[in-house]
């Protein structure tokens, strides 16, 4: 049965399928596995970060720091692999620990100091970006054989598409995110906080633990996105990924999650990412359109989805079921 809460998700999926059909009709070669594989690879880091952003927005918050955290992660990895001889895997563990605690401390400030997430994560955004500049202002290339190994891992599909490791990491992250959102107490508590902070408190939701967990998740996934981005670009640059947090927010909203929190799906964000990637791919195929058209189309889509959400909320409050289900049995 289709529930009204599923409707935004279905509309997102329908939008994606429609857009893909239109693209394929115009350029049949867009149906190839190459295009599909590149869609995953090119958007892997954004997708991973958007999973974290989905949890944050579901709880009614916002995390503006993730673009900076991705850049910081890249620079940190590049510098540490250039200046020391530690193994990249150890460096990965180190940077994940740093980004998780960074996110957790933002969550703690939001909860204990009762500060709006916007301000706290704005501060986090400047801090992480500044720290990246301190490490290096130039782009630092990463040349490590382990990186080469990781980058050469792929599964070649019939038709020539190369499904790379990074794309797989993104798919795994989405799978884990979907399970965490719907099948764990943490996920349920995130939805509960997004539905109403005071009510959640009265119903016994552990607010501190959950809020800190949410921002730690977002920070950690931004760190993972940073690792993937460094694999994608083989470099760390403190000016990279400016404004990626806004792309992630856009993907989450296009994916059908309410910015006010409490309603939405991690799976929706996946299709949000795919829609945004598809628009870019179409513009590349077209070749005559300026790449800024991506922004215009995404802007239009965002407006469309915001209107849709408003309409749906309005419709569900109108269609409230009265009490006749009450049975005189027993």
């Amino acid at each position: 049965m289709i529930r009204s809460t599923h409707l935004p998700l279905l509309i997102t999926i329908a939008t994606f399928l429609l857009a893909y059909t239109l693209c394929a009709w115009q350029y049949p070669s867009m149906l190839s596995t190459r295009v599909v594989a590149n869609l995953l690879t090119d958007n892997a880091f954004l997708g991973i970060a958007a999973v974290g952003m989905t949890f944050v927005i579901l709880s009614g918050g916002i995390d503006l720091s993730i673009g900076s955290v991705i850049a910081f992660t890249g620079v940190f990895l590049a510098v540490i692999l250039r200046d020391t001889s530690i193994h990249p895997l150890l460096a990965f563990a180190l940077i994940l620990a740093i980004t998780i605690s960074f996110g957790a401390s933002m969550g703690a400030m939001i909860h204990y100091l009762e500060m709006p997430p916007f301000i706290v994560t704005l501060a986090g955004m400047f801090l992480a970006r500044g720290a990246a500049y301190v490490l290096s202002t130039d782009s630092v290339p990463i040349t490590h054989e382990f990186y080469d190994t990781l980058q050469s891992l792929y599964w070649k599909a019939p038709g020539g598409g190369r499904f790379r490791l990074t794309g797989m990491i993104m798919l795994l992250t989405f799978a884990a995110g979907i399970i965490a959102a719907h099948r764990t107490r943490f996920g349920q508590n995130v939805y509960a906080i997004g539905g109403g902070l005071q009510t959640a408190r009265l119903m016994g939701v552990p607010l501190a633990k959950t809020t800190i967990g949410i921002y730690a998740t977002s920070g950690g996934l931004a760190g993972l996105a940073g690792i993937v981005f460094s694999l994608y670009t083989s470099a760390g640059y403190s000016l990279a990924t400016v404004g990626v947090e806004l792309d992630a927010i856009a993907a989450v909203v296009i994916g059908g999650t309410l910015l006010t929190g409490g309603t939405g799906f991690v799976a929706g964000t996946f299709f949000g990412i795919l829609i945004m990637g598809l628009i870019q791919t179409f513009i590349v195929f077209d070749g005559t359109l300026s790449s800024w058209w991506t922004k215009i189309v995404i802007g239009g889509l965002l407006f469309g989805f915001i209107l849709l959400q408003k309409g749906l909320t309005w419709a569900t409050t109108l269609r409230r079921k009265p009490a006749p289900e009450f049975a005189a049995q027993s």
Partner: protein
């Protein structure tokens, strides 16, 4: 009622002090299993303070609470819930975005292999809801169901978590009659199960319908605990209000009823106020009496369009008009002074002058500002006419005393030259002197030919200035009192729905 067993909850000598006030003064309360115990009292009587002491939201300053003969001291609502005391509030404290099942089991979901088992949770939710007579799909979001069903779900959750004492804090406040029946049938079931239920409401009918005993509070003290089978509504109301309600007939100017100005036919809104008919003539003050929650404010807001009516029609001097929002009402020369002066009335940081011209300016449209000289002239005229005491027209209105704020608000609406003025609790929270002035002002406006509708909880006051009094109860018009029928005693008996003391029944409409 089976009294074989001892009390499940026994409170002795509970006191709670706030700075400068005694909220509860040595209150005793005993609850037996399988009883519905109503807690009655006007606002500020101490009902909610008592409940908060029971649920651990407040720490009591003295007294003991024994649950099953063991002394308890809950520090939080969570703790009292674990001990067995569950609470359901007027506003459903569940999450509209989660499914019914998720709401029921939040925090204690059935797990399988470390993950929540949705299937088992839905099955458990269906079983649980069936016990409460609800055959609904627990996978639907909570917001898909009406407030009454949500209320039952909240009760189900509270009973599941606690299971000894259930406190229902105005659970029926926003329900219509059918929905109240649904909630009551659930209460009956729980009573049969042996729960002790505390029921708080302003609706006396509902108290007498469902409760076994009632404890009446006034000013933080217990006035009495009554078996409802042995008492009458009049007795309960008298205990609640505690005033000397002697029949007092005022000197009232003879009523020269003018032409009918406003007529409402079968006007109402589902779940807010039952449909009613009302005519108000020029030069007449119609009083609205009733207990708190009886629908006085709702009636006022409905007529002014602040609450939209969903049935009936409104006529102004015989012509049909629409009153969908306050703007339309203002255009028909209606005016409303709201009950909650601080939130709905004054704009605290604006000057007295700006507050006075606000409604007039709003009606004119913001692009045609009133000339400065006109504003000053108007403001000064009203300050003088209503005797508003202030240092300067430029001072922020929040610095004025309550009575002067109320007069400034009146001035605001009088400046729009209204034909129909609705006053909701015009004398609440103002001192005695200002009180008399407001009453005199109402008289004067009536003599000037205005039609007035005044809602008030002060019966003596209504008796003093009303040409007719309409008595509301449980959001329904009960009776209309005219001329010499208007006495406090008659108002009380009308609220209690009993024949009038000194008048045969023909007087009733």
């Amino acid at each position: 009622m089976a009294r074989a067993t001892g009390p499940v909850l026994e409170c002795k000598g509970i006191s709670k002090f706030f700075p400068g006030a005694i909220a509860l003064d040595a209150v005793d309360l005993t609850l037996y299993p399988g009883e519905v115990h109503a807690l009655l009292g006007e606002n500020g009587a101490g009902k909610s303070t008592l409940i908060k002491c029971l649920t651990g939201a407040y720490r009591r300053d003295a007294g003991t609470i024994e649950l099953d003969n063991r002394e308890i001291s809950p520090h939080s609502t969570q703790e009292s819930q674990k001990l067995g005391i569950g609470t359901v509030y007027q506003e459903v404290n569940l999450l509209p975005n989660l499914s019914v099942a998720e709401n029921l089991f939040l925090g204690r979901q059935p797990m399988k292999h470390g993950l929540i088992s949705q299937r088992r949770m839905l099955a458990m939710a269906s079983d649980l809801l069936a016990e409460f007579g609800l055959a609904i799909n627990p996978a639907e979001p909570l917001s898909a169901y009406s407030v009454a069903v949500q209320q039952v779900i909240a009760i189900a959750r509270a009973v599941e978590l606690s299971g000894k004492v259930l406190i229902l804090d105005e659970p029926t406040a926003s329900l219509d009659r059918d929905e109240v029946d649904l909630v009551f049938s659930v209460i009956e079931k729980l009573k049969a199960r042996g729960l002790a239920i505390v029921f708080i409401t302003h609706f006396l009918d509902q108290v007498f319908e469902i409760s076994d005993r009632a404890t009446i509070l006034r000013n933080g003290r217990i006035i009495g605990t009554k078996r409802l089978a042995d008492t009458t509504q009049t007795e309960v109301i008298t205990l609640m209000l505690g005033r000397q309600l002697e029949a007092r007939i005022q000197d009232r100017a003879p009523t020269e009823a003018g032409d009918v100005l406003v007529e409402l036919r079968n006007y109402g809104r589902r779940g807010v106020i039952e449909p009613f008919g009302l005519t108000v003539r020029k030069g007449e003050v119609v009083g609205l009496a009733g207990l708190l929650g009886s629908g006085r404010t709702e009636t006022a807001n409905l007529i002014f369009g602040a609450i939209q009516a969903d049935q009936g029609e409104a006529l102004l001097e015989g012509r049909k008009i629409s009153l969908k929002n306050p703007r339309e009402a203002v255009a028909h020369r209606f005016a409303l002074c709201p009950e909650d002066r601080k939130n709905d009335g004054i704009v605290g940081d604006l000057s007295v002058r700006e507050n006075i011209i606000l409604a007039l300016q709003a009606r004119q449209g913001w692009f045609r500002p009133l000339p400065r000289a006109k504003i000053n002239e108007l403001a000064e005229a009203y300050v003088k006419a209503l005797d508003i005491r202030l240092a300067s027209l430029d001072m922020p209105i929040r610095l004025l005393s309550g009575g002067n704020q109320q007069k400034a608000l009146l001035a605001r609406w009088l400046a729009t030259n209204p034909a129909f003025l609705i006053l909701d609790e015009p004398t609440r929270g103002i001192d005695v002197g200002a009180h008399a002035e407001i009453i005199a002002l109402i008289e004067r406006l009536r003599e000037d030919g205005l039609a007035l509708l005044v809602a008030s909880s002060e019966m003596e006051e209504l008796v003093a200035y009303s040409t007719r009094v309409i008595v509301l109860r449980d959001r329904r018009q009960m009776r209309e009192l005219k001329g010499d029928e208007i006495t406090t005693a008659n108002i009380v008996s009308a609220i209690a729905d009993e024949p009038m003391a000194n008048e045969p029944m023909e007087g009733a409409v």
